[in-house]
Symmetry: C2
Subunit: 151 residues, 2 copies
């Protein structure tokens, strides 16, 4: 159910992005707020960070972290183009899907990488499944903003 | 974990609303988009509908459905005041919490009211827990929009 929910929101993201031009993506989602490009990069960077966090390997695009997680939109740091970010978004989510589809139920309840064995004994809910729930909500939150780019 | 996630987003909603004046709530979240009042009424109506859907009794505010679910923001139908909606939002969520805290694990996996026994045999994921996941995402989606009312 949690995985269905994740897949649903990733698909909604894909559909929304397919309906937006690169020019639209460069606009702010509301006056004075983040640009579509920034939110797309931010979501891609957050999803990319799932690889190490969930024990699925290394990040595909480690450079996104500095631009889209550690710095705000108008940091002056050069951003990848809309075209590049669309490709990264797709590749990251596709690779994530391959891993997600192979996790067994037990593996979903195993700890994620950002918690120690000791803490996990006390807080067993800090597992992969919990990360999945949180990241789905995070995605929904920002899709609610990106949708404003639609005319 | 799913319940924690719901509680987290309801609390974020409370905190956001407490930081907004009634005048701010009456504004559009972005030019030409829904007003804060409409989104607050919409979320309250969706949450209120959980009572019959999850077998927790009758809706507290059945009149909200027509105004905030069946009709768009600029329908011309008179809306409750910001004050009234804030109270309804709180009461609905508080009553929901009382029920949620009492559901056993088995009860979360029982079917919701909008699916027949026959269909539920084929699709056992259409249960209360699944509704909870979906409504949490729905809440996160609109909170991502309401946050634009903050100055």
């Amino acid at each position: 159910m949690a995985l269905d929910s994740w897949n649903t929101y990733v698909s909604r993201g894909d559909k929304l992005l397919n309906g937006l031009s690169d020019e639209q993506l460069e606009e702010e989602v509301a006056p004075g707020r983040n640009s579509g490009i920034y939110l797309l990069g931010h979501l891609t960077a957050v999803h990319d960070a799932l690889f190490p966090l969930l024990g699925m390997g290394e990040k595909l695009y480690p450079l996104l972290e500095d631009i889209f997680l550690r710095n705000p939109d108008r940091s002056g740091i050069e951003k990848p183009s809309a075209r590049e970010l669309r490709d990264s978004w797709k590749e990251v989510n596709n690779k994530i899907s391959e891993h997600f589809n192979q996790f067994t139920l037990d593996e979903w309840f195993q700890k994620h990488a950002a918690i120690s064995n000791e803490d996990f004994e006390k807080e067993p809910h800090r597992n992969r499944l919990n990360v999945l729930l949180n990241r789905t909500n995070h995605l929904a939150y920002h899709l609610g903003q990106l949708v404003f780019l639609k005319k």
